[in-house]
């Protein structure tokens, strides 16, 4: 049996503020799905450091409409390329704290190779094509020495300054996506 025009639908993509349950998502991929023996999931989380900075959280902005359209197109391409069953992509937006889940990609297939490859492919292209932008909250420490003439006492204070900065896109992500062509 050959596959006929594999398509992806909006049901397979969710852009949401609220957290998701890995167990619930796996259950949905497996429910009434006796044909697929493999379930591959990827979960991305907020790290506490980036480029040597101490990160305290981040805010995710996106382009509503284009985000969904882009991810649906990536899923459709994955379905043309591999023999996969069900796909689910979740991406969170808004304010997120350290350790929180940001992104989920789940793929099922009859045998593991297709689900492994398709999952990585979807994640690699999501990173370089889907219009999301991360703004990090980072803490920088400044050592400042204050002296007062009257008391002749030096007080060294360790000041923590929290700033927000937009992340720069990484060449390594673009290079990784290009390995699929």
């Amino acid at each position: 049996m050959s596959k006929i025009n594999p398509t992806a639908t909006s049901n397979e993509v969710s852009i949401q503020q609220q957290d998701f349950s890995l167990a619930d998502e796996v259950a949905l991929l497996e429910q009434d799905n006796a044909i697929d023996g493999a379930v591959v999931t990827f979960t991305g989380r907020v790290r506490n450091q980036n480029n040597g900075n101490h990160v305290t959280g981040l805010t995710l902005e996106h382009y509503p409409g284009m985000t969904e359209k882009t991810i649906i197109a990536i899923i459709a391409t994955a379905k043309e390329r591999w023999n996969i069953g069900r796909v689910k992509v979740i991406h969170r937006i808004g304010q997120l704290n350290i350790g929180e889940q940001i992104v989920f990609v789940g793929v099922t297939s009859k045998h593991r190779q297709d689900a492994f490859a398709a999952n990585e492919f979807i994640m690699d292209f999501l990173k370089v094509k889907a219009p999301f932008w991360k703004k990090e909250r980072v803490v920088t420490r400044t050592d400042s020495s204050n002296s007062t003439h009257e008391t002749k006492i030096n007080t060294k204070t360790d000041t923590k300054i929290e700033t927000e900065q937009w992340l720069d896109a990484k060449d390594s992500d673009n290079n990784k996506a290009q390995t699929w062509s």
Partner: protein, 82 residues
């Protein structure tokens, strides 16, 4: 009219998330950009960033792509999701 939207760092630099432009003299993405650059120094410097990406009606395009009345044009920095 053409609707133009901006995101992330670019939106903050321009202090503008969206605006409308009359279609007179606008045929391509480049024409849209040139009209915006004429809005002042802040626009000129923010839009000079060569890494900026553009989309028309939610599809990524290059600067020579044609635009017409009713289109939604977007400008934004390279994406950093996932």
């Amino acid at each position: 009219m053409i609707k133009v939207v901006f995101f992330a760092a670019l939106r903050e630099q321009l202090q503008c998330s969206e605006l409308s432009l009359p279609t007179d003299n606008i045929k391509t993405i480049n024409d849209v950009k040139n009209q915006l650059i004429n809005k002042g120094e802040q626009w000129q410097s923010a839009l000079a960033n060569t890494s900026l990406l553009a989309a028309v009606n939610h599809d990524m395009v290059d600067s020579n792509t044609a635009v017409k009345s009713g289109d939604e044009v977007a400008f934004f920095p390279p994406v950093t999701g996932g």
